[in-house]
Symmetry: C2
Subunit: 546 residues, 2 copies
């Protein structure tokens, strides 16, 4: 039996485009001699459809699309994910399901049992967990079909009290197929390989795994679909961050060593780089825009975002706006211009002095001679926000946000100023990782000026300002933030690890007090196991840690 | 047996304040001769604690607080809600639970079975559902204790496949107690009374129900704790929007008619008015601030917010900033000044012309003579946003957002301009309801100038602008929005109801395209069954409906 894995980039709720793509891949799989073509979880509508699922009309559109697709499933069978209605009155109204289609008809339906409801996932918000399990008979083989999380309950601290495969294995299946929408983080590829290999070994069955690829606003799917033999040995690893369609012969997977090419493993920084480019590109493509604008300060954050945007969209589609003030150093403007020259994007220089003077005089009666302080720093940032948004409004550019994860974490940024933007490109990348990204971007040749990389970080909102005036050095800050955010360590645990108590309390308080700012920041491309946004839901007026 | 219901306002994660308040109410209940005092769901930490629950340290603080509280439970028993750890390896790590404390010791633990995971609720994100049920023996009575949602599965379309009371009833209990954190919406009080009455009738038992009161950022708890006899007749209704402690004699509840006073029922607009005042007050109190600032345009939205803020915080703590431009009509400034005079709040007048001129000249080289359009309208709104944020930064005022639900829905507002603020006061109140609120606020005397109420709504960002230039009349717009947002009707269903097809498609598209704006708006005080924010989670780059 030949099994095609179709690793595709879907667009949520774009039934026309998704259906067309699926049908064209059914044809390609047929052309390549496949007996069965397998598409990802919720492929029909894209993942995550979120509260679109609460519209009855949306479910009908999924059903209609599946019926259209079924017509093309002749001389080839197909497995495809979609939401379906729950006929039983009790329980949630939907299942996260998969159709098995043969001879143009839906011959079997598999429903997901384990519903991820943590981090960015909300599946129990919509779906009833399945409690019945049955293998699919096809061409003399029994297929144990599961959906994503259904195979993930085999680690040390299982989240669920049951394992669907423990039921399915009773039918003595010949092969496991798992359809997924498993989002990228730079730690996730290794985990995924281990979990699937562990399943193959535990049930002593070959595993065929197909993932989605592409970004849905902040959530990035990296593809990397996989095949394992019954010993848990990886037999194939499909492309990362790209669509891919490959056909595998079940007998060969079971018997032949090193038959299929494997993708090249990437370092964490390489993965983050490729993920961010995909994230930018899909945000624009799926929302129907092609041109980006950003503020270019001469600092490393905006330089890295500019370089990534040029790679994702083409330098001719990126407008960098330099907005010097009286506090900008000469080298900042020069560093920004050097980047523009190196990289070939568009640019404008809009000094902000006139607006700063205007706000000073407008506010003088109310401020009654009170001294320059954070207020005036924020005004500068907000003038810049207004300028880049004006460029966005006038020319249809989409504004990229350039805040990094370290400053998002501690609230070192101005709401409605440098925290503006449609999508946060590096908001899940710590400052220390931004430096690594810059070096990686410069691997072939110097795009980001060396001076941008080596100079001490500064917001340049008052004379001789340095980030280190208000914040600890980034290497120590990022280590504490990682422990607190990714590993969920509270102050006692951090102090026990040897971090200085006063520093720990100060940083954790900053993180928690900044919650009101993060609530209003753009969606942030998720590349870590714990990004700000939908995956991290904190009270705003809560008192704990602050 | 005398049962005290303690309806209190908790602060999430503020263990010191919550514990002190709980202990003081244990003492009051004792003083009033109660045998048992009942506190709400997750009273120890406040509801909803969200991802604080993922910090091990946070759970330890809950346990410690409960131990402190237990010491005071002598000569009185206590039921109190808190998160507890799950000792079983399989499943989620926590339960949403209640302690029954007697003689200073935890004598029984009840765990929640039905975990609301819809709208603003995320309980399955954290908690394992309980599968074991046992009544509590106390003073010769059997108490069937359940937690909030555990009693809510008796409507026409049950969300869950089981009912905890169907298990507990087997032990033949004498009384039902339900501890809740049941958020306010203007429809919820009636539903709550019906559900609890239906439970009393179904199981033929008296019901004691205690709710939280107070606002946790956007979620408002209205109190209104209830007592029913075994026939489902309401015997007591505690205060709405205020703390309350009342003691009930179980025998009297069972036998005496009209013994306890009932709260006065409020109209929808009265409820919304009181809820918003509580929402503003608690946002400030719990985040440690006392003074508010807002932009006052002369229009009805900012007038209503200003009046509500003055009632919540005192007029002396509210700063209204008038920011006229060349497009502001004379009557706008006069209407705003009339309100300030009527209401007695502070005010500043900051004309925005200088900044508007500065941006024009700064952007002229880039804009190359392109005509005035939405860009320049947005610049004015963003100048105003910068001015009010400067007032906030300089004086420590917290900015109130004044956008109404109709404009939030269709994206009729400027991100980083009039969409700024720490908390959206009327973002869950449709424009047509804002008019009703204004009239209610003026009930005793004219606070909001009549001209503000009767003049046609306008953003005043270009000459002779009216909202109706870009939007349908609000009465028709609001009807379509309500059907789409609250009732989740798609375009086909709306057209079938008789709304004009082109209009329906245009409005639904506006709603969906504005998703990227709403992602970045402040938290919005929730007063309806479907508010923007955590309770409505839509894709941003999705295609459905747009």
């Amino acid at each position: 039996m030949k099994i095609a894995l179709a690793q595709l980039n879907y667009h949520i709720g774009n039934f026309e485009a998704n259906t067309e793509k699926i049908i064209s891949n059914i044809q390609s799989a047929k052309d390549k001699g496949a007996d069965l073509v397998v598409f990802a979880e919720l492929a029909v509508c894209g993942y995550p459809p979120r509260d679109f699922l609460e519209f009855d009309d949306f479910i009908s559109l999924c059903e209609n699309a599946a019926q259209d697709i079924a017509k093309y499933c002749t001389d080839i069978a197909c497995i495809i994910g979609l939401p379906i209605r729950n006929d039983v009155l009790q329980g949630k109204d939907l299942f996260n399901a998969a159709y098995f289609i043969e001879d143009g008809k839906v011959k079997a339906i598999t429903k997901k049992a384990l519903l991820p409801t943590y981090d960015v996932f909300d599946e129990y918000r919509y779906f009833e967990p399945s409690t019945s399990f049955k293998c699919i008979d096809f061409k003399g083989k029994k297929i144990a079909l599961t959906i994503c999380e259904d195979l993930w309950n085999i680690n040390d601290n299982p989240l669920y009290v049951s394992n669907p495969m423990d039921e399915l294995i009773k039918e003595q299946p010949d092969v496991m197929i798992n359809i997924a929408a498993s989002p990228f983080s730079y730690t996730h590829d290794d985990e995924r390989i281990k979990v699937l290999s562990d399943n193959a070994k535990k049930y002593h069955l070959p595993v065929f795994y197909v993932n989605q690829v592409g970004a849905q606003t902040e959530i990035i799917f990296d593809g990397g679909s996989l095949v394992f033999d019954a010993d848990g040995e990886m037999k194939a690893e499909m492309k990362y961050f790209e669509e891919d369609l490959q056909v595998f012969d079940l007998t060969e997977v079971e018997n032949v060593r090193n038959k299929y090419p494997q993708a090249e493993r990437l370092t964490d920084i390489e993965q983050i780089h490729d993920a961010l480019i995909l994230g930018i590109r899909d945000y624009f493509q799926k929302s129907g825009f092609s041109k980006a604008v950003l503020g270019l300060s001469g600092g490393i954050d905006s330089a890295v975002v500019c370089a990534l945007a040029c790679r994702a969209l083409g330098a001719e589609n990126v407008m960098a706006v330099l907005m010097p003030s009286k506090f900008s150093s000469d080298h900042s403007v020069q560093d920004a211009l050097d980047l523009v020259n190196n990289i070939g994007c568009l640019h404008e220089i809009v000094p902000i002095k006139d607006a700063a003077v205007a706000f000073d005089s407008m506010l003088a009666p109310a401020f009654k001679g009170m001294p320059f302080n954070l207020t005036e720093e924020n005004i500068q940032a907000r003038i810049r926000g207004t300028v880049v948004m004006a460029m966005s409004n006038k020319f249809g550019y989409i504004l990229l946000n350039t805040s990094n994860k370290s400053e998002c974490a501690v609230g070192y940024g101005t709401l409605y100023g440098d925290m503006c933007g449609a999508i946060g490109v590096i908001g899940d990348v710590y400052k220390t990782q931004v430096f690594q990204l810059a070096k990686y971007i410069n691997k072939e040749r110097e795009l980001i000026p060396i001076n941008t990389i080596v100079k001490p970080p500064s917001a340049e909102l008052r004379p001789d300002q340095k980030d280190s005036d208000s914040l600890p050095e980034y290497d120590i800050l990022d280590r504490i933030l990682y422990q607190h955010i990714e590993l969920k360590q509270g102050s006692a645990a951090l102090i026990a690890k040897g971090f200085e108590e006063a520093l720990v309390r100060r940083i954790l308080k900053m993180v928690n007090v900044a919650e009101f700012k993060r609530y209003q920041t753009p969606p942030i491309l998720r590349v870590s196991p714990k990004a700000f946004g939908m995956g991290r839901r904190m009270p705003i007026v809560g008192k704990y840690l602050s």
